[in-house]
Symmetry: C2
Subunit: 211 residues, 2 copies
DNA sequence: CAGGTTATTATCCAAACGTATAACAACAGC
DNA sequence: GCTGTTGTTATACGTTTGGATAATAACCTG
């Protein structure tokens, strides 16, 4: 007679979320090659076999984890851009993207691990495209509101170009600021971001930061 | 009686380079989790055991491969900045960083795979720091030459800030332009880069691109 | 509180993993 | 040409991998 482990029967939503969170934890701690089915199951507190009850293959689970990661980031940064006037919203959005909790080495490790799979698997490419377009759209909205408020007319094409450039700048500063935070003084990255965006948009210096 | 495979006895330098090239090939094609000792050996045309004759551990080989990748990129971009006047050199350097062969999905996949290991292993962090400082130094040199030539005095601190911002912008545009090249028209990324750098440096529009 | 569903566990599998060691083939020096 | 050195192959070891299957415990329904 053998005794079996007792367990809790969770709802599908709960269980899937737990498994995805465990997947991200494992990738962040041991790299994508260390995120094995067994490690993930152990981290989630279940047995490895259960994973195949929720995901037909490991790759599919990785893709779901990638989607969850990007949704979380998008939520965090858009939530930060909730000021009242367009200028404050734009500034807060920019700063939020280059300061904690977004500048987090765990997030960066996860992000890079998935990015490296984009050229290898079109499913990952589709997820990236989706989240990139969401980010670009959010930025374009913030910019057009900002310009409308400042009585400056900017064509849709210009607005897109600005969004692409700002996105590039923000991505790059986030990357380097997170990879080697000790190389920069406090607020140096955030300050550089604001000054740079002012310059990129051809605004008078201080126009974004001062009241 | 068993017949053994015939083989060529290579010099240490050759063999190491072959093995590192094979390592990068494997990572680019199958991700870092697909770059197994056996796959790498097969790609390099040797048997797996040989790897341990050149590298004491697999991790050490990965680090050597990362260093080789970054050295190659640095060489390519600095070689592109070999015009005569400082303005041309700066422009060529920027454009080189956001156009082929630097905007290459294979390179990006490799870069991201290693980036994701930086927070997990200090050896990778050290290699990143080294190559980042080299890039930043190159950029600062180009900038100070450019400003000196244009009779504009810029303090060392300003120059550093400019270099950080430009590096961020270039990184970000390289990233997005390489990840989803079909999302942008031809030369859109390069054009955005030039216009954005002009704005970042508070130059008159067209100052970098026109004769 | 009995009966039916199914989420979960337990167990197994063949293949591939990183590493270690001994035998051999290639080349250098003499 | 023979001999010594060593780069390279061959082979083996124990572990871990992703995946499949059958048994079972937990909950839902009546």
């Amino acid at each position: 007679m053998t005794t079996r482990r007792s367990y809790h029967r969770a709802s599908e939503g709960e269980r899937r979320e737990d498994l995805l969170a465990a997947t991200l934890d494992c990738i962040a701690e041991a790299g994508i090659e260390g995120a094995t089915v067994r490690q993930i199951a152990a981290r989630a507190g279940v047995t490895p076999g259960l994973i195949r009850h929720y995901f037909t293959t490991k790759d599919q689970m990785l893709q779901a984890a990638y989607r969850q990661l990007m949704n979380g980031i998008t939520q965090t940064t858009t939530a930060a851009a909730q000021g009242h006037d367009p200028r404050t919203r734009l500034r807060q959005f920019i700063v939020a993207n280059v300061t904690p909790p977004v500048t987090d080495s765990r997030t960066l490790s996860l992000w890079a691990a998935f990015i490296s799979h984009i050229p290898l698997d079109s499913a990952f490419a589709a997820i990236h495209r989706e989240s990139y377009l969401a980010f670009l759209g959010e930025l374009e909205k913030l910019l057009s509101d900002f310009f409308a408020d400042g009585k400056r007319t900017v064509s849709a094409g210009e607005c897109r170009s600005y969004a692409i450039a700002l996105n590039g700048l923000i991505d790059g500063l986030w990357l380097e600021g997170t990879l080697a935070p000790d190389m920069f003084e406090d607020n140096e990255i955030a300050g550089t971001a604001i000054v740079s965006v002012e310059a990129l948009l051809r605004l008078p210096p201080g126009d974004l930061s001062l009241a």
